[in-house]
């Protein structure tokens, strides 16, 4: 069953400035999807809509059997329990004046999750491979990769069904990036990931399905392996041909 589906979603800041045109795709439980596009493709706008930070100007976003409605506070609380986000830059997505404990506890507090918060935090830290004593430290005491682990711990602490990852590994060094992709892969045993990225190689390493965006339109979507092997749309072909490859 689909977790979330976008049906003919369009979005524009004005009638002249349409950013998304008739975007449709769906996310199924257990199937990681990569949303790939270059700057201006509308990938961040789709994420904004999925986070409930803006409303589509046309079409609808369906979550379970309800329509995503950012104005419905009760609905949004349930929605946020199920859908959490990890952002690109762990230097700006973590509050520098909060300790890790309080950063990771935030969704539990805000969403009024019952049960032991301390246990949930400890489990989240274990899941992302950070030591238990990390909770008493501040973000500046960690490296970029470790900070991204803190951001991931915050996203998974309330045990959501879906993680929206916006270029979540793009700002990381190569060896760190490989380790965080491995971590996300391990987490996707339990939850589904929508990875928004311009980096086809990262998407190929993590996602079973792929949606290619160009100028606010879906130009191609399907199984990652099929698209990499036999890209049909000229834009997908150009994108694939542009990825620098390791020398043979």
């Amino acid at each position: 069953m689909s977790l979330i589906s976008l049906d003919n979603v369009s979005f524009g800041y004005s009638r002249k400035q349409q950013v998304l045109h008739d975007v449709s795709f769906s996310l199924r439980s257990g199937v990681n999807v990569g949303l790939v596009g270059e700057s201006g493709s509308g990938k961040s706008t789709i994420l904004k809509l999925l986070l409930g930070l803006a409303r589509p100007t046309g079409g609808r976003i369906q979550f379970g059997d309800a329509e995503l409605n950012p104005r419905d506070r009760a609905f949004m609380r349930d929605y946020r329990k199920a859908v959490q986000a990890v952002f690109q830059d762990p230097y700006s997505s973590l509050d520098p004046r909060q300790k890790v404990q309080s950063i990771i506890a935030e969704p539990l507090r805000a969403l009024r999750i019952p049960g032991s918060h301390q246990e949930a935090i400890e489990k989240a830290l274990r899941d992302v491979g950070l030591p238990a004593d990390a909770i008493d430290r501040y973000p500046h005491e960690f490296s970029g990769g470790q900070r991204q682990r803190i951001a991931i711990a915050r996203a998974i602490v309330a045990r959501p069904q879906l993680i929206l990852a916006d270029e979540a590994v793009s700002a990381l060094d190569l060896s760190t990036r490989a380790r965080i992709v491995d971590l996300l892969k391990a987490l996707s045993e339990e939850m589904t990931i929508l990875l928004v990225s311009h980096d086809l190689a990262v998407v190929a390493a993590l996602c079973e399905e792929i949606v290619i965006l160009e100028k606010g339109r879906v130009v191609e979507s399907g199984k990652t392996a099929d698209i990499l092997e036999n890209p049909k749309h000229p834009y997908t072909q150009k994108l694939l041909a542009s990825v620098p490859r390791m020398p043979a």
Binding site: E38, S39, G144, D173, L174, S175, T176, R177, A178, H198, D199, L200, A201, V202, A204, A205, A225, L228, E229, K238, L239, L240, A241, S242, V243, P244, R245, M246, P247, A248
Partner: protein, 268 residues
């Protein structure tokens, strides 16, 4: 003789040593890739090479740029080398360009300066012609519009082409490119890499290409130097290093890059 010869370079500030005992050289026309992750000291090394280190750094060792010692040289002694001997293209063209100056005027600055240095008369029409030919050289479209545009009015890839045109305007013997494609889209990145490779071949310029991205380095460089925590850990011909990395750290980088590369399937 080497164009750039760095020997035993050690950079420290605030009691911390950020670059230690780094040595490498670049021959005229050679394309060298400097590989390293964040904190490896790759950008500091490049800044030191053109005498642009921030205040408060203590520099030991020797940096010879076209035969002239840069360590301990006065600002006045270094100025004539910048541009003429080595020009730089930085990662983020939006901050490298002056936001308040039209593109045509910015590109004209190094052109005018080069003519003045050579003691030639500066003729406005000739400068304007040269600016246009430089913008053509970097394959910018619609040059009439671009010369009149401010940096914010053109795309990221176009801005980086403008930055490259400004570097070319100096007719340097060595081009230093510090992560010049990291901020760009993949399709734009490929265009800029091809542009740089073509320019290097045609102009016979040497290139110091700084990047953390192995396949990108492989596309433009012949030789590589791998830096980690401020020290050189491996060097050699690019294919030799990528095929048989000797240092464990280089191997971990090559393995990670190869894993991502494999995920994409066979190269076409």
């Amino acid at each position: 003789m080497s164009l750039l010869d760095i020997r035993g370079l050690t950079l420290s500030t605030g009691g911390q040593t950020l670059v230690s005992d780094v040595s490498f050289s670049i021959a005229p026309g050679e394309r060298l890739g400097l590989i390293g992750e964040s904190g490896s000291g790759k950008s500091l090394t490049a800044l030191a090479a053109i005498g642009l280190l921030p205040r408060g750094f203590s520099v030991q060792g020797s940096i010879k740029l076209d035969g002239q010692e840069m360590v301990g040289a006065s600002e006045n002694a270094m100025i004539p080398l910048r541009g003429a001997t080595a020009a730089t293209v930085f990662q983020e063209p939006l901050t490298a360009l002056n936001p308040l100056m039209r593109v045509g005027k910015q590109v004209a600055e190094p052109v005018v300066r080069r003519h003045r240095r050579a003691g030639e008369a500066v003729d406005r029409a000739a400068v304007a012609r040269e600016v246009r030919s430089l913008l053509e050289r970097v394959s910018l479209p619609d040059i009439d519009r671009i010369v009149k545009s401010y940096p914010y009015e053109i795309s990221g890839g176009q801005r980086q082409r403008v930055a490259i045109a400004m570097a070319l305007a100096c007719r340097p013997k060595l081009l230093i490119a510090d992560e010049p494609t990291t901020a760009l889209d993949v399709t734009t990145q490929m265009e800029i890499l091809d542009l740089l490779s073509g320019l290097m071949r045609e102009e016979g310029m040497a290139l110091l290409f700084i990047s953390h991205d192995l396949p990108v380095v492989a596309r433009v460089a012949e030789n590589v130097v791998v830096l980690r925590r401020g020290a050189v850990i491996e060097r050699g011909e690019v294919h030799a290093v990528f095929d048989g990395p000797k240092h464990e750290y280089t191997r971990s980088l090559v393995d990670a890059a190869t894993a991502f590369d494999k995920a994409l399937g066979p190269a076409r």
